[in-house]
Symmetry: C2
Subunit: 391 residues, 2 copies
């Protein structure tokens, strides 16, 4: 680290990676500097050299890291390669920030987490939606006990409209071999993470999911999912997502013993009971009475710093020991839920957590073998797509 600066190298300058390059080059992350990038695809390297003159561009992460130019890497490759790249980088003493999802299957991600722990380096994941003040506030209200014990979670997150043109824009897209899943792996990792993180790290104990594959679209993977889960305390949850609904909905409702919180349209409303439901029920004698409830608009606490916020927090963690908002090891939680949803659908049955990871991998491998996309003919375009409006 030169002059108290953390020197970043970006692995993969595709859609997400090139966004991080721009953020860093613009000097938006205090204490961070961008010192190199790498990409395995030649036209993309040529594009990068023209786009960012003077920035060292490498063919692969190993040579970039071996150059001694970087202290930390951001892994922004295709999903499947996140754990492989991270494990290699940890072995070379790098701090590592991975893009979401942590990987495509839990078994692979568990190995990455072990490598991170063994290295002692800083490990983060680009869960930029954890920087959103709304979800941070929800987490704070749950953790502090304001909402009481959780009774029900319900997230309808169907505002991921993707046309056939989107799916046709890369032959790897929405294939088992190319992405390892559909809306659960590509669009929803943030939401699957927040579904547990924002309610205080509450994970389901069993999952019964109903994935529909290629619904209204010519694709291999799931693009319409309804999942029901149960928690250890008897609470239940529902998660609904789709990429074919227009205009779609993003509404997250969490019910507790002290009321109900709804996040919708970028606003949080808290219907707060004056006393807990349990206390009211214990003392109430009237047949049709219900607990006194106050509707509260929770004030907004500003805009989310999103990706820049995660880059800043990660940089501060390395340089100043700041606590990570999104530790890399926590990427396994959302992916566990995601994998369980696939497995439940494939088996047409309940999946208890933790699930049989070998069985999941075997089932996934069947679908990869039958996939229309064959690695490693990774097809990419030289210039990143316009991702305006995506997350």
């Amino acid at each position: 680290m030169s002059e108290n600066k953390l020197r970043f190298g970006i692995i993969g300058v595709g859609n997400m990676g090139s966004g991080h390059v721009k953020t860093l080059l613009a000097g938006q992350v205090e204490g961070a500097e961008l010192t190199a990038v790498c990409d395995g695809f030649e036209p993309k390297r040529e594009w990068a050299k023209k786009e960012w003159p003077g920035l060292p561009v490498f063919e692969d992460s190993a040579s970039m890291i071996d150059s001694g130019l970087v202290d930390a890497v951001v892994v922004a490759t295709p999903h499947y390669d996140h754990p492989t790249e991270a494990i290699q980088a940890f072995a070379k003493g790098m701090h590592v920030l991975i893009e979401k999802p942590a990987g495509v299957y839990v078994k692979q991600v568990r190995k990455m987490n072990e490598a991170a722990a063994a290295s002692g380096k800083t490990f983060g994941i680009m869960y930029n939606q954890r920087m959103n003040p709304l979800y941070q506030k929800l987490r704070e209200l749950v953790v502090s006990g304001e909402l009481g014990e959780i009774r029900r979670t319900n997230w309808i997150i169907t505002n991921w409209y993707r046309s056939q043109a989107y799916y046709d824009s890369g032959s790897w897209r929405a294939t088992w071999a190319g992405e390892g899943g559909g809306v659960l792996i590509n669009q929803c990792p943030h939401n699957l993470d927040l579904w547990q993180w924002a309610v205080g790290g509450l994970m389901p104990v069993r999952v019964r999911a109903f994935c529909q594959f290629g619904k209204h679209r010519s694709i291999e993977v799931e693009n319409d999912v309804t999942a029901y889960v149960e928690y250890d305390n008897g609470a239940t949850g529902v998660f609904i997502t789709s990429t074919a609904d227009a205009p779609g909905t993003n509404r997250f409702e969490v019910t507790g013993d002290r009321g109900k919180i709804v996040i919708e349209d970028g606003k949080m409303t808290f219907w707060r009971l004056r006393e807990s439901e349990q206390e009211f029920n214990a003392r109430n004698k009237a047949s049709f009475a219900s607990p006194e409830c106050w509707k509260i608009d929770i004030p907004s606490s500003g805009k989310s710093p999103e990706h820049r916020g995660i880059l800043q927090n990660f940089t501060n963690a390395v340089l100043k020991g700041e606590k990570l908002v999104a530790p890399g090891e926590e990427g396994i939680y959302g992916l566990t839920i995601s994998n369980a949803m696939h497995l439940s659908t494939w088996l047409d049955d309940w999946v208890d957590l933790p699930f049989n990871e070998d069985l999941h991998e075997a089932e996934l491998n069947k679908r990869i073998a039958a996939s229309s996309f064959k690695k490693p003919e990774t097809e990419q375009t030289a210039a990143p797509a316009d991702l305006t409006g995506t997350h």
Copy 2:
């Protein structure tokens, strides 16, 4: 029928029945008059005689009907008896309006529908929420094609708060022998009916439901339900209900090929696509484009006439041949969904519709046999409970 008046007799002057008595005595239903009531419970008959001096009060429906005083009956007995009473009344040439639910199990209701058809008399069901302009408008928008083909239905109807005091107010309450079910049978019949009626009579083809029994309450039956359904066209649906959530939610979202309609807080919003999603998807070439969408507040068309509206429509059907808004035969639809939810939970498996009615009856009978409530020691209070705020 005297002087073009339809003479009503009410069977059962409990909570609902006494409400209908008041409506009719107040002259709120044109063309209808109340000429008799009956109740099998002596203290209730005494109470009725004091409450409504001069109104003939009978011990049972047979003697009330045989008196020649009535042309039509309203069946407002406990749920289990609706079909029995209706079948007897049809046999005696009565027009019959039954309270919801149509019955407790489909097999029983099917017999009632056969009796109604054989009688040729007018047969209605007190689905008063079908009179709500919001649900009527939704149905009209679906049937007219404004919303396009249905893709998803989602109803969170958890605003049925019932304390332990409510359940303790009658030993028959929330027992298998006394009610034959919980929130699905007592609170939700309207919603289970509207879930299909308001989307143009679209019935699920299979159901996977998760009922929780006696959740946060000391009762036998289900009071927390999450159900997933699939329709013939591949559309999916979710129905969530509970009596222990406070303050609860009532939000009905329906997505179609032409957009999305949400009914919440007594308001309807239609997010309408300028062209259908299917047409847009077929012509679109841009990776991240989505169909143009207009958010429309559908104007409210007034208050619902509720029970009075159903009584008026039923009266007009008999006297003037007006089309019934809620034909009695249609009570079987919501009950079919309700029974399938129970059966799916009991079997911990999918239930295809139509389901095995004998299996359902056998499973229900097991629970009746083990129930804490033993018929016919029906416990009732002489005066009806205050039902203000219920439906």
